[in-house]
């Protein structure tokens, strides 16, 4: 997986624990069996959504956050269970939906076709209560397994793109996003400002107050920078005490003001560490991308500007 893929923002809303593998869709046209299934499943603690035919089931499945455990009757007017199976699998939904197909006892051939169409398991009518419950547990188990894997993947995705100490983007991720913003700005003829921020005399802080205090300063500096930027600005840790800040849509007129605001957020009040409150300042080198600059070019200019800021006395902004 590339860093570009890793840093794409996922449409994953807040996930309620247990909610996804716990809600069941019942698609059954027979009122009596619908009632039986609904009654049992509710007593077993599932959240139940019912559909009286295949078309209604399909509509429910198109909505936001559909049930992931599906009980589909084979024979229904309109869209039948097998057709529903096929459509669901064609969509290649993620997360995966577990399908339990219900067939009549004397239609054994249906089972083969149903499984081929994408059903995970089947149940024959008239269904047995204990068997249904056991088969639902199997489905839930697989969905829970899937949820755990997705959760683990999201954790890894976060770790792969974020700086462990400060929680902001790491170097790989922030540079990947800089590339993306430069491409976007070039296509839409917009602008992107890039700021390289370095904490002044950071080695002295480490030497005087210890490395733990140094870590606290880095964390607080990252927090302050994030708070002083807009929600769509990007802040990453570029090196030891060096931060890279990408401001999409910021042009040269606004750059000075934005950079000064960030510089002051570091230098105006002392940092708080466990045992000390060191005064820390920052030097910033900033630039606005010109047409079709590469990330390397923009970074080289920002780096040169930072060098200038350092050389002319630190705690200041230099723009190139």
């Amino acid at each position: 997986m590339s860093v570009e893929e890793l840093t794409t923002v996922l449409p994953s809303g807040p996930e309620q624990p247990g909610s996804l593998s716990n809600s069941v869709l019942i698609a059954e046209d027979d009122a009596m069996f619908r009632k039986i299934l609904e009654n049992w499943l509710e007593h077993w603690g599932y959240r139940v959504v019912v559909a009286e035919d295949g078309a209604k089931a399909w509509n429910i499945l198109q909505q936001e956050g559909p049930p992931q455990l599906l009980i589909l009757d084979w024979i229904m007017p309109g869209i039948n269970g097998m057709e529903l199976c096929r459509r669901i699998r064609e969509q290649r939904n993620s997360p995966y939906q577990y399908i339990l197909l219900v067939t009549s006892k004397d239609d054994k051939q249906d089972v083969v076709h149903g499984l081929e169409a994408g059903a995970d398991d089947y149940l024959t009518k008239p269904f047995d209560r204990d068997e249904l419950r056991a088969r639902l547990r199997t489905g839930s188990r697989i969905l829970t397994l899937q949820k755990d894997l997705i959760h683990a993947r999201e954790n890894l995705r976060f770790q792969a793109t974020h700086d462990a100490l400060t929680g902001i983007w790491n170097r790989g991720a922030i540079v990947a996003m800089l590339r993306r913003e430069l491409d976007r700005a070039f296509r839409s003829q917009g602008s992107v400002a890039v700021l390289m921020l370095d904490l002044d005399h950071f080695k002295r802080i480490n030497d005087t107050h210890g490395h733990l205090a140094g870590d606290d300063v880095l964390k607080e500096a990252a927090n302050r920078v994030v708070r002083s930027t807009r929600s769509y600005d990007l802040v990453g840790r570029y090196g030891g005490e060096e931060f890279l800040i990408v401001l999409p849509g910021c042009d040269s007129d606004q750059l000075r003001q934005a950079a000064e605001r960030i510089r002051r957020t570091i230098g105006d009040t002392p940092m708080q560490t466990l045992n000390s409150s060191p005064e820390v300042t920052a030097s910033i080198g900033a630039t606005v991308c010109a047409d079709n600059n590469s990330a390397e070019e923009v970074l080289a200019v920002a780096d040169a500007a930072l060098y200038q800021a350092k050389n002319s006395g630190r705690d200041r902004v230099a723009i190139l």
């Binding site: 027979d30 009122a31 009518k125």
Partner: protein, 156 residues
């Protein structure tokens, strides 16, 4: 988990009602539906049994009417579909003979043999009518059993 007494009462009542109906039925039906078996299949929940019987009693006349109309109009698919639904419901309620007839109707519908289906339907119609009557008779008993029975389900 079956609350013994109320269901026994219901069964006795049903048997009695069947005895009363017996002379009018031709041929006489030994058992119309299997209360004990259905209740067991439903997990011993008398209130669910009541609801299920209510749904069946409410909807079966409609299904019969659809079947009758489909046979008259030569709509073999509707015969097959409706007989299929009835087959499943009757099977679940333990009405084995009527369920068997529904299966035959379904198959004949599938083969477009509607004349044969119409013959079977006559007997089927009579059986279902008798069944519905006995169910309606026992509905009060089932209702009482349902409301005096323990709150179903939560137990495993």
């Amino acid at each position: 988990m079956i609350p013994a007494e109320p269901v026994d009462v219901a069964q006795r009542k049903i048997r009695r009602s069947m005895d009363m109906n017996a002379p009018q039925l031709s041929p006489p039906t030994p058992t119309l539906w299997d209360v004990t078996g259905t209740l067991a299949r439903l997990g011993g929940d008398p209130s669910l049994l009541y609801e299920v019987v209510k749904i069946f009693v409410d909807q079966a006349p409609h299904h019969l009417q659809v079947l009758r109309l489909a046979l008259a109009q030569g709509d073999a698919e509707a015969v097959e579909r409706t007989a299929h639904s009835l087959k499943g419901e009757l099977g679940y309620l333990g009405v084995s003979r009527a369920s068997q007839r529904a299966r035959e109707l379904e198959e004949l519908g599938g083969k477009h043999e509607l004349e044969k289906a119409a013959e079977i339907f006559m007997a089927f119609d009579r059986e279902i009518s008798a069944l519905l009557e006995s169910m309606r008779d026992s509905r009060d008993e089932l209702s009482r059993a349902a409301s005096s029975g323990k709150k179903p389900g939560r137990k495993q």
